[in-house]
């Protein structure tokens, strides 16, 4: 039982990270019907920027660990959000009227650009996050002692997801984002500036992705320049699993994928965890081709 609960929590922590990244895929798809293949790399950029701030800028030495991490969290989210905004302006907006395939090619190009930029700037080796940042307390809940780090990742990702959901459902701008995702033309008739909304989505998604990059750095302790691809693929899978374009779907898909992976590693074999994860994806898509919470048909993919 103890083993099961620990694996479940581990799965939720990893799944929370997947979900945060998946939100970026799904929100962009929602408003532009474009898979932003560079999104995973923005997440990697976040992890690296976090490392730079903590180590090279000595934030980790100047501030107590908790304050340093919190500050880095906010700064990186803002910086990656800005990069996401620029990405849309430079790589996607000029192609808006050029058909969907051109934008997809541009997205793949942007992904290669970011990966290689990270490799050139930082070098093609694994980097280690300062390990004294990892909280080393444990919390005992109902007889289970849970590593504080694990709990923190789960709490942070859930808080961010709830905040996003509140924003989307209960603010005027959140409603405008949903309207643009449903019908851009009708949204324009409401007086909504669609370009501004698209820019906003490219701020929110990458911002969350950048924050997730730091979570990975602190949780696992190490990052590499190709992590954007591996995590990006998983998060993209999570978005499809939940129903692409659907925000709660990305959250559910991410958490589910994380838990499935953790269980596969624990009770089957670590080497098979990806195979099991994708097997679950295939199974779910056979039963529900539009994903768990997706309503629209997937013909636009």
């Amino acid at each position: 039982m103890e083993f099961f609960v620990q694996q479940l929590l581990n799965g939720l922590a990893v799944g929370g990270i997947y979900a945060l990244v998946a939100l970026g895929y799904t929100m962009v798809y929602g408003v532009l019907k474009l898979i932003n293949f560079a999104h995973g790399d923005l997440f990697a950029v976040g992890a690296y920027l976090g490392l730079t701030l903590l180590v090279s800028c000595h934030l980790a030495q100047m501030l107590p660990p908790f304050a340093a991490v919190l500050l880095v969290f906010v700064l990186v989210a803002l910086m990656v959000a800005l990069i996401g905004y620029l990405l849309e302006r430079v790589a996607y907006r000029p192609l808006r009227s050029a058909g969907r395939l051109s934008a997809v090619v541009s997205a793949l190009g942007a992904s290669i650009f970011f990966e290689n930029a990270l490799m050139l700037i930082y070098g093609a080796r694994v980097f280690v996050y300062p390990d004294f940042l990892r909280p080393d307390f444990t919390v005992t809940i109902m007889g289970f002692s849970i590593p504080g780090m694990r709990l923190l990742v789960i709490v942070v990702s859930i808080v961010l997801m709830v905040a996003l959901q509140v924003f989307m459902l209960h603010t005027r701008v959140g409603a405008a984002i949903r309207a643009v995702a449903i019908d851009q033309g009708a949204a324009r008739l409401m007086g909504i500036n669609v370009n501004r909304i698209i820019s906003l989505v490219f701020l929110i998604g990458p911002g969350l992705g950048g924050a997730a990059g730091i979570l990975v750095g602190i949780y696992y302790g190490q990052i590499d320049f190709l992590m954007g691809w591996s995590y990006g693929l998983k998060a993209f899978t999570a978005a499809i699993l939940g129903g692409i374009g659907n925000i709660p779907g990305a959250m559910v898909g991410g958490l589910l994928l994380g838990v499935v992976e953790a269980m596969a590693s624990a009770y089957f074999a670590v080497a098979w965890k990806d195979a099991v994860a994708f097997f679950v994806l295939i199974l779910i898509l056979i039963v529900r081709p539009t994903g768990l919470l997706g309503e629209r048909t997937a013909d636009k993919l």
């Binding site: 005027r172 449903i182 019908d183 009708a186 409401m190 007086g191 909504i192």
Partner: protein
């Protein structure tokens, strides 16, 4: 002075010209109707005013301003709202969310609430279905919602595209009565209709469009009495 003035408007979809230089004007407080068969260019005219399609040449002036210099979302801010062809309500959002989106550019909360109350007076059904998802409404209710949503912007000029399409005759009558009430409230109305008889009974003036040209314009009464209009649009 005319509130809306269209002069020699040409619009192309790709290489096909669909409006061949139409001119029309709508004065403040009027109800003007645009009649014509499918494909005559009625909806294209409304979409050009809302700036969702670009004109190839010609000018559209609203309250003296050249709309060619404005983007679609800015046009709403100037005071033009549209209830589009096919209603295009946001199906996965509630009735109230749809209505509030209509007031996206209205900053004054008190005004927003009073407009909402007025719309619930015009369409009591919408108030009953306030929390319901728009996609689950009947066709007639969706039409009311599309009109209410446009009114939430507190427009000076309301563009209505085929509000009677697909509705039961009794409901058509009530929708047209509501348009009259909206007009009596000081909103100028440009009404696109296939139901020519009902539209002409309601309107002050009318234009007849045929394949991208204005072929006739007159007072509504004169058009109702016109033999060729009777033959082509009123069933003899």
């Amino acid at each position: 002075m005319a509130l809306l003035e269209i002069e020699d408007l040409h619009v192309c979809y790709g290489r096909v010209e669909v409006l061949h230089g139409i001119s029309l004007q709508v004065d403040e407080g009027e109800i003007v109707t645009l009649l014509g068969a499918n494909g005559a260019g009625k909806s294209t005219t409304l979409m050009s005013i809302s700036r969702l399609v670009n004109a190839k040449s010609g000018t559209i002036r609203f309250d003296g301003k050249d709309l060619g210099k404005y983007q679609s979302h800015e046009v709403v801010g100037l005071g033009i709202a549209q209830s589009p062809e096919g209603r295009r309500v946001f199906g996965t959002m509630t009735v109230e969310e749809n209505l509030r989106l209509g007031a996206f550019l209205v900053n004054n909360e008190a005004q927003k609430e009073s407009t909402l109350r007025w719309i619930f007076e015009l369409f009591p059904r919408l108030e009953e279905r306030r929390e319901q998802l728009a996609g689950t409404l009947s066709g007639g209710e969706q039409q009311m919602l599309a009109m209410g949503r446009a009114l939430m912007a507190q427009p000076r000029l309301l563009l209505l595209d085929e509000p009677s399409l697909g509705l039961a005759p009794l409901l058509v009558k009530s929708i047209f009565q509501t348009i009259r009430r909206i007009s009596e409230n000081g909103v100028t109305v440009l009404l696109v209709e296939q139901n020519a008889r009902a539209a002409l009974k309601l309107a002050n003036r009318g234009y007849v469009l045929e394949v991208g040209n204005v072929v006739m314009q007159d007072t509504a009464q004169a058009l109702l009495a016109n033999p060729s209009v009777r033959e082509a649009y009123l069933g003899g």
